[in-house]
Amino acid sequence: MSAFMPSLRKVMLGCTVLAGLSASPVLAADVTPERLLNASQEPANWLTHHGSYSAQRFSTLSQINRDTVKGLKVAFTMALGGIEPGGIWSHGGLEGTPIAMDGFLYVTDGWGSVYKIDVAHGALAWKMDPKTDRDWAGAVACCGVNNRGVALWGNMVVSHTLDGRLIATNRDTGEIAWQRAVADPDKGETVTGAPLVVKNLAITGVGGGEYGIRGWLAATDLTTQKEVWRTYTIPTKGEPGSESWSGNAGAAANGGGPTWVTGSYDPATNMLVWGTGNPGPDWDSAHRPGDNLYTDSALGLDLETGKIKWHFQHTPNDPYDYDSTSENVLVDAQVNGRPTRLALHANRNGFGYAVDRTSGEFIWGTPFVKKVTWTAGLNAETGKPAEYDPALPVQKYNAAVTPSRTNRVSDICPGNMGGKNWQPTAYNPGLQRWYIPVIESCNRITVEETKPGSWKAREFFTGGGPSQHERITGSITAVDVTTGKVTGKAETQFPQLGGLLATPDLVFASQPSGEVTAYDAKSLDKLWEFKTGGGVSAPPMTFSVDGKQYVAILVGLGGAWDKWFIESTPELKKVQTGSTLYVFAL
């Protein structure tokens, strides 16, 4: 309670002043832990990054529905900033999910500026520019100038910057209240994800899997502004899991395992469920013999201590860059007639997984892409790739296509971007359908042998690199979570680089060529589309103000695609750099 005293006092003072003016003000309430816990019970607002702690990205709002969506129009747009170059990047982009509360949107640009926007007036209330050190951070951002959004807590807007800071901004004034450095770009660390705020803790994940970082999750107590725990995703020598790093190269010290996508939280067990990224170097798996725990895993962690309670590793000794950073969606469902508490995860490796979120036990797995070549499938009991052999120091999987020191150039499907990347899935609890934004891809991997001791701070540490030898497309693929079977696929010309939103009737999606699209939730028929004229690489969300439903999405192509993967989608070369918020309503 004491956490909210300062802001409560301010609100009370405000009441006094305004009462003196005989107004009847509607003052924005503080965001309490209870409100965040029950975020889905406030459908007018979108209070947390994934819409709720379960990361379902589902809204019960239904004014915009199967019958009315045809009439969806632009309510307003707002030009934003953050497109400046920095480091190895020629421009920034937008990947954030807006947060909505009491008629205001809170959005970020790629360099971490936060904008508070008055929806009713389409007006900017304030902008907080954190003055990110663009060269320092942009030189070690593998995959674009990205910031995926803010969190709300008390009277603060909590955000990250690419150069590794956690910032609390006064929600009324836009003034920075305090900030602390959480990640260190000198070590190749960056922060691109939105903070996850639970109780009084802000959880920060880190990026840098291509720069030989040792990944971690960190919890900052927002009341004391101090770090209360930091859990490394690669164990120290002697800790459980450390035996999964063998060989003489000392690979664990630079073994990767970043955590750059915002996780989920299960109040029933008081556990965070968070994904980890690829081991490094990405493609030279012989440099790091062993399973490389806890890279490429879903982790269940105790919220209060950060202790790892369970893990499920998807691709042991990963030679493909098939990371597991993307979100885990918490869903209760009957699977094969048994009530199950699931964590769903769509992996870069092309498989969707359901595990028991209390224990990490494998429930089902299914390929959601059109083409998988690296494995014959998953073991139905364990969920491990069929060819996985725990006795092997270096996994071979389907050796004919697997990148290795003896297979220096190989084509893999899915390609290293996936499958499915950070772009969030959405879940419809009424239909029990899980929608995956898919990158239908193959690409070519060239392996370079990593010499022991060759890691350099702030330099790529990848053991090779990808190139594009064929066209890459996309789809929205629906999975029945009670069976783990794919029930539908809406194909798209370009890969899904923006992520999804589910409402009772609809699935909202986008294309990097600029379209924002609504699909029928059951048939996946296209019902509505608007061409923004920019490139979209951010998820849609929905909220309402005074009974009117809106859909909002950031437009401005960012991320890794236009620098590293554009040759697979040549038409996207003409997409211009931009930075705009689009808000739609009936």
Partner: protein
């Protein structure tokens, strides 16, 4: 003492300015060449230090270790390198056959990508002279090199201050 130091500083600045004024070539290398190196996004793959390296974009050539002659660097800047990620920067480079004797049709699928910025011949020479003077054969990037690029005190240069930076996980 303070005045003396300031005086010395001014003197050094004056001396530097004077050298640049007397040698337009040096001014071009230090100023225009570096500015083009940034504007044409050479930093995007070869990095500020020119050492390139692997990563998501594949392996960019190390300009520090390159043995290319001035004319060869100019040619690569003008024409790109067919079959690699190195773009061409000369407007209409493959309209005729002035690049490697190849037309657009002849180079086919190995056509280099188009640079984000086209450069005039004088700009290509300026950035080439910058590469030769400031990057080529300069060994490992140093703190001095880094400050010369980003300016004094840039945080980007922190890691070059100590001989060996500590790996991320080395202390925990």
């Amino acid at each position: 003492m303070r005045r003396a130091l300031i005086g010395a500083g001014l003197l050094a600045m004056w001396a530097g300015a004077s050298a640049l004024a007397q040698d337009p070539g040096a001014r071009r290398v230090a100023g225009e060449g570096k500015q083009i190196y940034q504007r044409a996004n050479c930093v995007g793959c070869h990095k500020w230090h020119g050492d390139g390296g692997g990563g998501y974009g594949g392996d960019a050539l190390s300009l520090r270790k390159s043995e290319l002659t001035r004319d060869q660097i100019i040619e690569v800047l003008r024409c790109g390198r067919p079959g690699t990620g190195m773009p061409y920067h000369l407007r209409g480079a493959y309209d005729g056959d002035e690049c490697y004797g190849l037309t657009r049709e002849a180079v086919g699928k190995d056509m280099p990508i188009e640079g984000k910025t086209f450069l005039r011949p004088s700009e290509i020479e300026a950035v080439t002279d910058y590469v030769i003077a400031s990057l080529q054969h300069r060994g490992e990037p140093s703190y001095t090199d880094c400050e010369a690029f980003f300016g004094a005190g840039a945080r980007t240069c922190n890691v070059y201050k100590t001989a060996a930076a500590t790996p991320s996980g080395g202390t925990e």
